[in-house]
Amino acid sequence: MKNIVIILIGLLTLSACESLEETPFDFLSADNLYRNEADVDLALFGVYSSLNTANHDLWYFMSTSGPGESVTTRFNGGNQLFLAGLNFNPTLAHGVWWSNFYRGINRANAVIANVPGVGLEESLAEQKIAEARFQRAFFYFNLVKWFGGVPLYLEETTNFSEEVIFKPRNTTEEVYAAIIEDLQYAETRLPATWDAANFGRATSGAAKGFLGKVYLHMAGKPLEQTDKYALAAAKLKEVVDSGVYALQPDFGSIFTLENERNNELIFVRPNVEDDAAGTVLTFFAGPPNTPFANRNGQYQFGFSLAFYNSFSPDDKRRDVTMQYTYIDANGRSITYNSPSNPQLPQGGYREPGGVALGKLKDAQNDVSPFAHDNDIIYMRYADILLMLAEALNESNQAAAALPYLKLVRDRAGLPVVSTTDRAALRAIIKQERKWELAGEYQEYGDLQRWGDIQASIANNAASRRIGVTYDPKMELLPIPQGQLDDNPNLTQNPGY
């Protein structure tokens, strides 16, 4: 008996030896991903999806279009009002997208690091890397425009040593240099177009378009490298000459869900109806009980009446951009700032936040708030044309600029401009951008590079409501406080 027991002990003791190595069952790692082209594409989609987080689009809108004088909010406080009114402080919600852009940068760096090991044919591998580098440039461009020089990460983060995590800011010039290098790599390696199923992925046209835009920003404030105007003009001209893009004949059809993937679009985030891959912006913009946004539409912001009135009544863009009068889901006609203010689904009323946005419309008003289908348009051909006109005008080629301006104004139904006076033309082009691209995330960046923030604030209803006056610090957004807290080497922008 004793022996049996001893044997038993031995067996039981030995049987208890399972490995302490962890076997993951329900997630992947870099080791078992990146086996073929399809895998690389999934990782590239991962890079693109960095901006698909719940409220990213709201705060991106509020801090890019919001600070322009055209946007107002119904809120008496909070992030919406402070961003729209340029009452910036380091704890506002713009910190959300600082984080999202950097998340995307690291994901892009991971793809760049892993593609060479997949064993793709060289040109295909380069195309994949180009797609990642294009996105990285797009992310850095967003950061550098609104924050100035930011820490530059061009390698995947694989450890959290202090050198990695406490990296200080690079200069604005250094960041732009990296962006240019990425876009130049991308423009020659990306395809000119994608098939319908892949629409929205980076193209050579998008790389050139952004390169042109980057030059234009470098030529303006704060760097004022005016020699870049010529580079911008040349690069933007390449986009025009590519023949891939054209203006939609009808301004309204650029934005409809039926006409998605039209050839005016250069770079978009192509949303689909899904909580993880849609946009919430339509919901936040839409008035309640409408046939064009979730029926509980938040109507948190809209355009000021002054902006509405700045349009010529003949301008075909006015009633596409803004819905001064519309038919609600119950068939009632709603007119802005009148007794027929927007109604909740079964009646009742919500204080308007300005004239409602018209560029984001989703006929499914029972869709989940986060799942609106509307694509987020980061760049379209009209922007290229106006930038090209601006770059030519600033390069002393006003006459050459006029045809591009004309294309845009013709479609809007506005008369031909014939002045070649640089300052006069500049003013016209600026105003044209405001009308053409209202609510398309351009306003604050344009005011910045033009040095027009101070002038704009006087007309900014939100600023007036909270008594904000111009301060040079407003030329940049403050570095988010949470980032300063977590990185002692990060310095705040001046004035905050």
Binding site: D26, F27, W98, N198, V272, G348
Partner: protein, 1031 residues
Amino acid sequence: MLILKPINMKLKQLKKISRHALLLCFAFTLTGMYAQSQITGVVSTSDGQVLPGVNVVEKGTNNGVVTDFDGKYQITTQSANAVLVFSFVGFETLELPVNGQQLVNATMTADEQSLQEVVVVGYGAQKRTDITGSVSSVEGEDLEKAVYNTVDQLLQGRSAGVQVTSSSGEPGANSSVRIRGNNSLSADNSPLYVVDGIPLSGTPQLNPQDIESLEVLKDASATAIYGSRGANGVILVTTKRGQVGKATVSVYQNITLSETRKTYEVLQGQQYAEFRNEAIADLRPNDAPPFPNPEQYAGTGFNWQDEILRTGIRSEYGVNVNGGEERTRYFVSANLLEDKGIVVGSNYRRGTFRTNLDTKLFNDKMGIKVRLNGSHVQNNRAITSSRAFPAGAGPIFYSYTAEPIVPSRDYAGITGEGQQFFNPYLEATAKDDRNYVTDLFASTELSYKITPELTYTFNGGLNFTFNNRDIYTPSNVGAGIDLNGLAQLSQNRSYDYITSNYLTYKNLFAENHDITATAGVEYSEFNNIASNSRVNNFPIEALGVNDVGSATGDPTIGSGRNRSVIQSGFFRLNYAFDSRYLLTATIRADGSSRFAQNEKWGYFPSAALGWRVSEEAFLKDSKTISNLKFRASIGETGTQSLPPYQSLARYGSSFYGTGQTLNLALFPVSVENPNLKWETTRQTDIGIDLGLFQNRVNITADYFKKETFDLLAVVPLPDQVGYPSYQGNFGSIENKGFEFAIDFTPVQNENFSWSSNFNVTFIKNTVLELFNDIDRFGPGLGQNVFGNGHLYRPGEEFGLFYGLKAVGLIQESDFDADGNPLFAPRNGVTQLGSWKFEDVGGGEDGAPDGIITNEDRQVIGNPNPDYTFGWVNDFYYKNFNLNIFIQGSVGNDIYNTIGTVLGSGFQNNESYKNQTVDWYLNRWTPDNPTNDIRYPSINSESPPVANYMVEDGSYIRLQSVSLRYNIPMENSNTFSGIEVYGTATNLFTITDYSGIDPEVSSLGGNTLAPGVDLGVYPRQRGYTMGVNFRF
């Protein structure tokens, strides 16, 4: 109730056993018509005291009885020449031949060696007197006198150093159990439960009636044998086993009626209409009032609290059978519990069964213990939120805040001023929310005495849990409104296996050197598998979650699976010299799969010394001091409660659309941390056990100091690296405290006794070090309204309340002649009757800057009690027993967040919440320019976290009063005993707290958010009637 087994406890046991004895006696009398010989007698001690509860067995048979309260016994032997064996814990076993006599009195001698309670410790048992660690015990009988559903509630107030806070009054809700404070900021602070030797991965799903005793291991000497899982303390649960003797059948039943302690008096009818009119008139003077003729609403509308609250009915039925022979014993039990809580629509039903079998084989060399437990819960829940966006809080919260004036109780349309109305009554009743939990727990312990000194033990267990939640939110409730009906199904399965093998060597050398050594290995494996699905748009709602195929929406599905293993080796040495000098040393090595490549193995040592001064010659004969022991221990334990795979580089997934195609999107979500490891807690403990007057008074006092370092921390990263944070080890936290427990028996005579025990705990929980010395904050206080309100700052106490300090309300006199404010405004608000806050920072070098921002937050409260205490009194008079249990907490603050929501009249997201009458009548108005910060004006700003939410949460509660009566059964031929009792639970509470209940933890699931009251399922006051029958 610490350390030393007090004599009154023993007496209670005696009485309990004596009751059995009585019953048995009569049973025998009644069935004894074939008796050969009837023998009676009295059993007493050598100094003449009668001994109840002594086992009297006819030698060589199963025929046995137990002495009654007066020490008397009556046994019918099968042979006139029988030998009677008298046995009793703490006394030498006595054998007396009957020799044809009918009267056999016995005098038993105390056994100095065995006059020692044996206490279960990890991987073995020890005499209480030999224990050098801090271990306290709660006996099953104490627990039977209160009404509990879950095991964790049993411990509240019963043991020094243990703090139990129930998160809500929902039937079946779990409580937060903390042994000697919070050790960790991000890992789990719950203790390890070990049931019959098997360490579990959660709170055991047992019927509390099946528990024989609970041992709470507190210091490192006691817990280090559990290594990387011991840092939060260990609770050893021992279930009942059969007693040798004739089978005893107990059938019990009780029923509890319960009600809420308190409700909020919120605005109704006309007053509500006036409030809303006034609010709109103030905000938008040109608008029409929402309730044009307020008078017409007088007496109309709904008090939603009345609609969703009811008298709760809890009923419990159970039966257990126990008995056995010398070699084989059994305990079989079944229990059915139904708890229809005080919120309509809630119904918790549970069935449990247990079979415990103990047997000895091969001349008692081999022992086998089999434990089988199954439980099944069906819980219809009524309290959870069903609104996904904006944030929701469920029917309890809405019953306070919902608009009272709506057309009907089932109304689900639009309120008077055009907002979607979320009906709390429908949320509680129309929503179908069912939780099914099936738990199977089985273990087998096999021990074999290889030599008289050496024993081998195998203990193997398995615990399978199946947890399913099926929810249907119809199209008139919460999120279902927008989604036209929403079904959510989730399923979680866990399969845990645990085996341990160990050898125990015990020997006494040279008379004085007593050595016990235990060494063994253990293997644990935890498997979790989960899946969930969700679908909306139900054309027919009758089927709901029971037929998700009838939905037309696109379903969402998900699943996950993980496994972790722990391999361990452990060793313990107990050495006692001459019963005076005690030494315990333990070490455990744990290898855990959860930790990183470089840190798989951890080693957890402990050492303790004890000096039994009362065994020294100079005290041995003391009449006063019957026991005196000094103890000191030091050791290290760990916490490894983080999810598996945290050290690995992982990829996560989402979706991304291109064109109109939805693509899978993959991306890195973590970076490998090759150094991720357990938290280590180093604890020192100094204690004293003192027994006076033959242990009629027992005092235990302990001072302890714990420092936990290498805290498992989600270390914040600057987002520039691509990740917001990583799982690492950083920071340290300290708990210092003092525990004191006294058991005493002020009165003890034949007909009446009074025993009492009192315990009190003082703990100071301090954050020592955090990553980069950056302050950490708790989560938001909830409801899309409030920001975070808890501070974790090196050098400060755990979880201090942190927010603005309101110093008054804005009055007309607070402006200068030009109308400029003379105070620092927040967000530019200068509205009369809004709060004025203290400006303490934000400027250069932290100087006041003239505006109120987050920089002006300061410490405004402390959720940590100065002390907590429990006090149990037991009175016995003849067949009556009165048990009174009082417990309380002193010096802690509460965030009365719900109070602020209901008492500040603010507009949130364009809607108003109903308010209390108290606020409405006392609010700031131009005619009533109060400066009381609890009464701001209508349309005050949306309240930031500030001192007006903070209240003193101290309380003393009469937790339970139980009166029991044993009906004398001399003349019954059916029952051997009937006990009837009535118990009142939560009878009254002395507190200054203005909310529903000061014992509150709305965000209890989050360690970092103690003491928040957001309106939880109210804790009930219950009245129980019960009866126990024994056959």
